[in-house]
């Protein structure tokens, strides 16, 4: 190889991340490759561990001193502030969509269901972790009571909070929806769920990152496809470039 060629090769290698990468990332093929890699991770996780395998649960002394609040720390509507003031006595959770028996539940209804309490670790996409105890009914109980139809492929979570002008929402597939640790939490460390952590209700999706754990929950909706909901990517952060599978 001549000196010229060698220099061109080295220059190319150095410039590669700067130019080629940004072009590739913005192309459709680039997005397809990223999504394929993420699907491979999801399939690998579920194949190796099993679809119902549990996330680790900890003893009470392993809990972190507090549970950090992140994202929306409150909902700045008069309606929410009124609910907050009266202890969410009139808060409603609707279970709708592809179900034969739509539900409209209050907090007392949710407390009357069998409860699951779990001490789990919350991993944020940013990199930090916190450990806390969560209690609430399993989502599978609600879905069974609502009689979800065969054609439903996703469960969408509707939220009261609005970030940068868009309503927060999230979605999971039926594997994650029926996972035993997927609960609608109304208690944190033995107390009513605090405002900063999503009062009065939030999801716990224990095998995925924090952005899946929708807070300020108002609705649970069974759908066949997530393509026509908001940005079409299945969640607030997914519509902003984050992967739908948040298992890594």
């Amino acid at each position: 190889m001549t000196d010229m060629k060698r220099r061109a090769l080295l220059a190319g290698l150095i410039a590669l991340p700067a130019t080629a990468c940004s072009k590739l990332a913005e192309s459709e093929a680039g997005t397809d490759i990223f999504n394929a890699a993420e699907s491979m991770h999801r399939l690998a996780h579920r194949t190796l561990a099993g679809r119902q395998a549990l996330a680790p649960e900890y003893p009470p002394e392993a809990r972190s001193p507090t549970m950090r609040g992140n994202g929306s720390l409150t909902v700045e509507t008069d309606e929410y502030q009124a609910h907050l003031a009266n202890g969410f006595e009139d808060w409603r959770l609707a279970v709708t969509g592809l179900v034969d028996n739509p539900l409209d539940l209050g907090l007392a209804d949710l407390r009357a269901l069998p409860q699951r309490t779990q001490i789990t670790r919350h991993d944020c996409v940013e990199g930090w972790s916190a450990i806390a105890e969560w209690s609430g009914p399993q989502l599978s109980h609600l879905l069974d009571a609502a009689r979800v139809r065969e054609e439903a492929n996703f469960i969408v979570f509707r939220c009261a909070d609005n970030l940068n002008g868009s309503d927060y929402y999230e979605s999971v597939d039926m594997v994650e929806a029926y996972h035993p640790q997927t609960i609608v939490a109304h208690r944190l460390n033995g107390e009513a769920l605090p405002e900063k952590n999503g009062a009065p209700l939030r999801m716990r999706i224990e095998r995925q990152l924090g952005y899946k754990h929708a807070k300020f929950l108002t609705g649970i909706e069974a759908v066949a496809s997530i393509d026509d909901i908001q940005g079409g990517n299945g969640g607030y952060w997914e519509d902003r470039g984050y992967q739908w599978y948040a298992g890594m």
Partner: protein
């Protein structure tokens, strides 16, 4: 010096590109939460054992702070890196590159032998010892291939909540998720240190024929031990 196996040459460049992408996208990811902890949890900078600098945009992929896209680059390259390392290990055992060129002897590890090696390297004497590489090279390549690179895969898996149900004992063994994250970070800079020394040694030994050798496999007659 014998020519490099085809498997070695292909892996070397695929791995180099994958590691560059992993490194630069990893710096972008690090910027999202610049604190490192030991144990299972950690979110309060007051509990951190290290506060990491904010890495400048020119050093990251993409060339601006973008956690979503950086994660895409990182998690995609991770497959290429991990599968090619697995392929390299299988090839090295089958073509006996590992047994012939990378295994060391116990006597290579005595303080006297190690000191002799360092002195020889400082004098610019690289062609000594039996086989393709000198003992210090064998140790370094062996540690990088056998421990450091696999550690990056293991610690990367350990910080993935979706992987954790596969092998919860692995996360426990590493001391918890935040410990695994810290080890992932430390491993990154150990690899970076290897990269700097590796490039320096290649330049010292002769950049041109070394790079040519790793591309074509051909080495000049005077460097060939055959």
């Amino acid at each position: 010096m014998k020519r490099h196996f085809l498997a070695t040459r292909i892996w070397h460049w695929v791995n180099a590109i994958a590691l560059i992408v992993l490194f630069m996208s990893g710096l972008n990811i690090s910027n999202a939460h610049r604190y490192l902890y030991w144990g299972d949890y950690g979110f309060d900078p007051a509990d951190a054992w290290a506060a990491v600098m904010r890495f400048p945009a020119w050093a990251t992929i993409p060339q601006r702070y973008d956690l979503a896209e950086a994660r895409d680059w990182h998690n995609t390259s991770a497959w290429i890196f991990a599968l090619s390392l697995l392929g390299m290990w299988i090839a090295s055992l089958v073509n006996r590159h590992f047994q012939r060129d990378l295994t060391t002897r116990l006597r290579d590890w005595t303080p006297g032998a190690l000191w002799g090696e360092i002195v020889a390297h400082l004098k610019g004497q690289f062609d000594h010892g039996e086989g393709k590489y000198n003992p210090l090279q064998k140790m370094t390549y062996g540690l990088v291939l056998g421990i450091l690179l696999p550690l990056m895969i293991v610690t990367g898996l350990a910080i993935s909540p979706g992987f954790e149900p596969v092998a919860p004992w692995m996360i426990d063994l590493l001391g918890g998720r935040q410990s695994a994250r810290s080890l992932h970070f430390i491993g990154t800079w150990a690899l970076f240190a290897f990269f700097i020394v590796h490039v320096a040694m290649v330049i010292a030994a002769g950049l041109g024929w070394q790079i040519r050798g790793m591309i074509t496999g051909r080495v000049p007659k005077e460097k060939s031990g055959d």
